[in-house]
């Protein structure tokens, strides 16, 4: 995936045919982080801790539901990807790019949790037929995340 240009704040990317397929496959895995993963407090010393935790869980669940809808619209929008001879072009506004970063990181972190939250550097040792797809999802979502972050970086230079 390559950034072609940034016009009026919008990002235009080129993706090879295989890349487009991979990106859509990764996005379809959303959401991956199990519900109620995040805690509001580690110490548990907040006043109304349980009620506030419930609010956080509800807020994140609402966001997930909203993201699923938006993602479905994103993936089924025929005009989203423009086919070219060598692949596709993808145009994203800054807010769409920001949103995709959140989606991709959910897939990345969720896959990591499914893999057993391994420490850095031992992933390959854990790799087997059963969890290869989760490992693939974690790495692939990270790959696209980095391409998007590089594009944001270029806009700022």
């Amino acid at each position: 995936m390559k950034l072609i240009r940034i016009t009026k704040g919008n990002f235009l990317f080129h993706l090879g045919k295989r890349e487009k397929h991979l990106l859509t496959q990764v996005l379809r895995l959303y959401p991956r982080i199990p519900p109620a993963t995040f805690r509001l407090s580690k110490s548990g010393k907040l006043p109304d801790g349980e009620a506030n935790q419930r609010l956080l869980d509800e807020s994140l669940a609402e966001q997930r539901a909203e993201n699923r809808k938006t993602l479905h619209a994103f993936l089924t929008d025929q005009r989203r990807f423009t086919d070219t001879e060598s692949g596709s072009r993808l145009s994203l506004s800054p807010s769409e790019l920001e949103w995709l970063l959140q989606i991709l990181n959910d897939v990345r972190v969720g896959s990591w949790i499914i893999l057993g939250s391994p420490d850095q550097g031992i992933e390959f040792k854990l790799l087997n037929e059963k969890n290869a797809a989760d490992f693939w999802a974690m790495e692939m979502s990270g790959h696209f995340q980095m391409r998007f972050l590089e594009a944001i970086e270029k806009r700022e230079v």
Partner: protein, 102 residues
């Protein structure tokens, strides 16, 4: 005992340099980001900049603190604001919590 010069007082005004006692302050909450081996450093920096509107240098400082020390205190704020920040950080799937500033 040696005397010190008393500060000049202006009629009608009361000057005070006394700090508000700590017990008089609103209870504060710390927004903390914890380290994990899965979030990319560039991503964490990006999220800090988006959520707090920080300059790159400040965002990188806190990102490195998370990376090297296991956590970084990002903000001290009221309960509502701290909650807001934690929600925002968790939307980006960062491991963030809030704790009372004791």
């Amino acid at each position: 005992m040696a005397e010190t010069a008393a500060p000049e007082a202006t009629p009608g005004t009361i000057e005070t340099t006394e700090e508000k006692p700590k017990s008089g302050l609103e209870p504060g909450y710390l927004v903390i980001c914890w380290n994990d081996p899965v979030n990319y450093m560039d991503y964490v920096t990006h999220v800090f900049r988006k959520v707090f509107g920080w300059a790159r240098k400040k965002a990188e400082f806190h990102m490195l603190q998370v990376h090297e020390q296991g956590k970084s205190v990002l903000k001290r704020d009221s309960m509502e604001k701290a909650e807001h920040y934690v929600h925002q950080l968790q939307r980006y799937s960062l491991h963030a919590t809030m704790e009372p500033d004791e």
